[in-house]
């Protein structure tokens, strides 16, 4: 799976910045995890991999990995759409740091 990924941010010197207005696509320098107050947690015994959660995630942070569902906690914002859309109740939102 290809997607934008985290890299070292350019330095603070003028020479580190592009001369034109174009730059590398898919260049991420910061995570979104800090936005989250609740996190999705999978109840694997209930999941049948229908992937509705994956399809509806606005951030693309739900994915299938090795026959099981996984979350990219670096970029999940904790919106809860995946838990809401799951017809089987296989995703629960848990408070962060609880």
């Amino acid at each position: 799976m290809r997607k934008p990924y985290l890299r070292q941010a350019p330095g603070r010197e003028l020479a580190d910045y592009p001369e034109g207005t174009a730059y590398t696509a898919g260049f991420l320098t910061a995570k979104n995890a800090g936005w989250r107050s609740v996190r999705p947690v999978l109840r694997a015994e209930k999941c049948v991999l229908c992937l509705r959660c994956y399809l509806h995630c606005p951030d693309g942070t739900v994915y299938e990995s090795g026959g099981a569902l996984a979350f990219d906690y670096d970029f999940c914002k904790g919106c809860g759409l995946c838990a809401k859309i799951c017809p089987l109740g296989a995703i629960e939102m848990e408070t962060e740091g609880a």
């Binding site: 997607k3 934008p4 350019p10 590398t24 991420l28 994956y54 399809l55 606005p58 970029f75 759409l81």
Partner: protein, 286 residues
């Protein structure tokens, strides 16, 4: 064949963006790019999706993407399509993602020009029904009664006094080869329309209802549910315009207009008469 959740491109072309949690607009962009693939060239005017996608050096598009002027989405698409053709690049879909303000107000002239020329582009309007990234100001696609910062709800005036423009009819009146409405509440229907549009020549126009938790006053996990409800209660019918005729693509399942409106904070001030007005108007349109 229309992709499903199991067969759609696993790559993420719009990822790591700074959209609000539960954003309907970002879901609209993400799904379209998964259908169109890595050779799609995206044009985004000022609006939520450019504001959240291009925060140098944080660039959330995996494919080529460019910011246009607010008014010039469609004209930049025209230029890009011509440039790609001149360079002999094949299988590139030039796709635009503009908000409701960038489409129905500020970018309408450029869109009309492209429709007149019949350029080969796919224009997608993600309609969150106000200028959201600047702080919820009314646009030409804000529905009657909605509270925005420029149409506040008070004792005498209860939110927006104007009706929502009908962009699908405006585009259809240009004789577009393909135009359709869609909703993030019905992704299967939306994916089918994106794929169909990408395979046609000329200006294809998709108008996607994309709820905004921040501006609508709904919870971040309600985006899809509310977008589906809007279709089911008849306030946002899903149509396809092709060959000079309109066709409904999803039959509304029914549902209470009042319940749908009252769960959104932007409509909470509405009186029973206002809701009756919206209900009557809906019935007269279909």
């Amino acid at each position: 064949m229309t992709p499903t959740a199991g067969t759609i491109d696993k790559n993420e072309y719009f990822f790591g963006h700074k959209a609000c949690a539960g954003c309907g607009g970002s879901l609209t962009v993400r799904i379209a790019l998964k259908i169109l693939g890595p050779r799609a060239v995206a044009v985004l005017p000022a609006g939520c999706m450019s504001a959240v996608g291009f925060n140098f050096p944080q660039l959330a598009f995996l494919n080529n993407a460019i910011i246009s002027t607010f008014a010039g989405t469609a004209s930049m698409m025209t230029g890009l399509e011509a440039g790609l053709r001149a360079r002999g690049e094949r299988d590139c879909t030039v796709v635009g993602f503009a908000g409701d303000g960038g489409t129905a107000d500020i970018g309408l002239q450029a869109l009309s020009g492209a429709l007149d020329r019949g350029d080969n582009i796919l224009y997608i309007c993600y309609d969150n029904e106000a200028y959201m990234n600047t702080g919820v100001q009314k646009s030409g696609l804000t529905p009657f009664g909605a509270r925005t910062t420029t149409t506040p709800a008070g004792a005498r005036v209860r939110g927006n006094v104007r009706e929502k423009k009908n962009m699908l009819r405006i585009v259809a009146a240009h004789g577009a080869p393909y135009a359709a409405t869609a909703s993030v509440g019905y992704l299967d229907d939306y994916m089918r329309k994106v794929q169909k549009a990408a395979g046609l020549r000329g200006v294809k126009y998709l108008h996607v209802l994309a709820p905004c938790p921040t501006g609508w006053g709904i919870a971040s996990d309600e985006t899809v549910e509310v977008a589906k409800e809007a279709v089911d209660c008849g306030l946002f019918p899903l149509y396809e315009y092709e060959g000079g005729a309109f066709r409904q693509t999803v039959a509304p399942k029914g549902g209470s207009i009042e319940r749908h409106l009252r769960r959104q904070r932007r409509f909470q001030h509405l009186t029973d008469e206002d809701i009756a007005h919206i209900t009557v108007r809906r019935a007269s349109e279909t």
